[in-house]
Amino acid sequence: MRTDDLIKALDADVRSTAMPLGSAWWIGAGAATLIAAVVFWLAIGPRTDIATAMYTTRFVAKFVFTTALAVSAFALIRALSTPGAATSRAATWMIAAPLLVAVAVGLELLSVPAADWGRRLVGSNMLICLTFIPLIGIGPLAVFLAVLRYGAPTRPVLAGAVAGLLAGGLAATFYAAHCFDDSPLFVATWYTIAIAILAALGALGGRLFVRW
């Protein structure tokens, strides 16, 4: 088939339309949030003292970290799924969440006696954290990988990993409402590992499923 012949066929198909990728990302984000919310409520639900916890800095700070991660990952994945789009600014914003956590860890180390560091880091919930963040995030990750497939990421493995970070940020936002361990030492350790698991799964999914 000559290229001119191919062009005739593509041209005849001009009226087949698809939803713009930008809209698909917002629908995907909505669906992923819904899935995460349902799994969260069915599996664990919020902690019983949430009404009072809401007034403590450490509890609220967890949502700042996880939301920062989710928002920055969402911006980056939208750029990564569009060929030729500039990604460097969105990539730079990805340091926001780790930076906030690092600052919080520093403040925690200053305000808590060294004897307490170990107890706060280990916490009481680490296995639950390592189980439920990936469990809440796996459905959203599948949604994000599906949107990536609909898009056109020129770096599928990287885009898949960012999909995992996005799913992780979303899942951790829900999980934070359940978890009693509010110390930044705990968050910096166990949330990070749990989210890294999702990022690794996402990279693998990007490699295996995101072809175009």
């Binding site: 005739k8 066929a9 593509l10 990728l21 060929p83 030729g84 898009g151 056109a152 020129t154 175009w212």
Partner: protein
């Protein structure tokens, strides 16, 4: 020259997305010529036929045109797809190459005419279900319109459009598949 290309191609693509067939044909022909120039200069050793990559790129542009944001320039989008398809073509053929990510080279890509030889796309076409294959062949190689194709096969124009769309999507997917190799 490049600035004019950009403005003109963006305008044509916007019209195409709104359903303008003539604008789309114009866009595709001009894009094919630019992409051909780009690919030919990137392929220095043999093993990959530039025209195969041009066709893969055009198909990808077609099935992924919803990923172009209309407020952004269209040429960086086109070249990003072309570069991705070029790297993919080498990878699929088991070759490792270094492609310089050279933005300046792109801006000097000159339009080039195609050369004819055996095509990957023919193998992908042969792999389609018979109904899709005959519709795609009729509209492309045999040069019939949608209406003429519908009359030839005694089916509705809608059925022709559906078969054409599915056939093209399937060909594009085959190009993207890892296991698709030349003999």
């Amino acid at each position: 020259m490049t600035g004019k290309d950009e403005a003109e191609l963006s305008r044509l693509m916007r019209a195409a997305i709104a359903g303008d067939e003539r604008a789309y044909a114009d866009f595709l022909r001009r894009t094919a010529a630019l992409v051909r120039g780009f690919i030919r200069r990137k392929i220095v050793q043999g093993g990959v036929d530039p025209e195969d990559v041009v066709q893969e790129t055009l198909l990808a542009i077609h099935v992924k045109r919803h990923t172009w944001r209309q407020d952004l320039p269209v040429l960086p989008w086109v070249y990003a797809i072309a570069r991705f398809k070029l790297i993919d073509a080498f990878r699929r053929r088991g070759r490792r190459i270094e492609i310089e990510i050279d933005e300046i080279a792109e801006t000097f890509a000159e339009p080039e005419a195609e050369t004819v030889s055996g095509r990957d796309i023919n193998r992908a076409l042969d792999g389609l279900p018979p109904a899709q294959r005959s519709v795609v062949s009729s509209v492309s190689v045999e040069g019939r319109s949608i209406g003429e194709t519908a009359a030839k096969f005694g089916i509705s124009e809608t059925a022709v459009r559906v078969s054409l769309h599915r056939g093209l999507a399937a060909i594009a997917k085959r190009f993207g598949a890892k296991q698709f190799k030349r003999e």
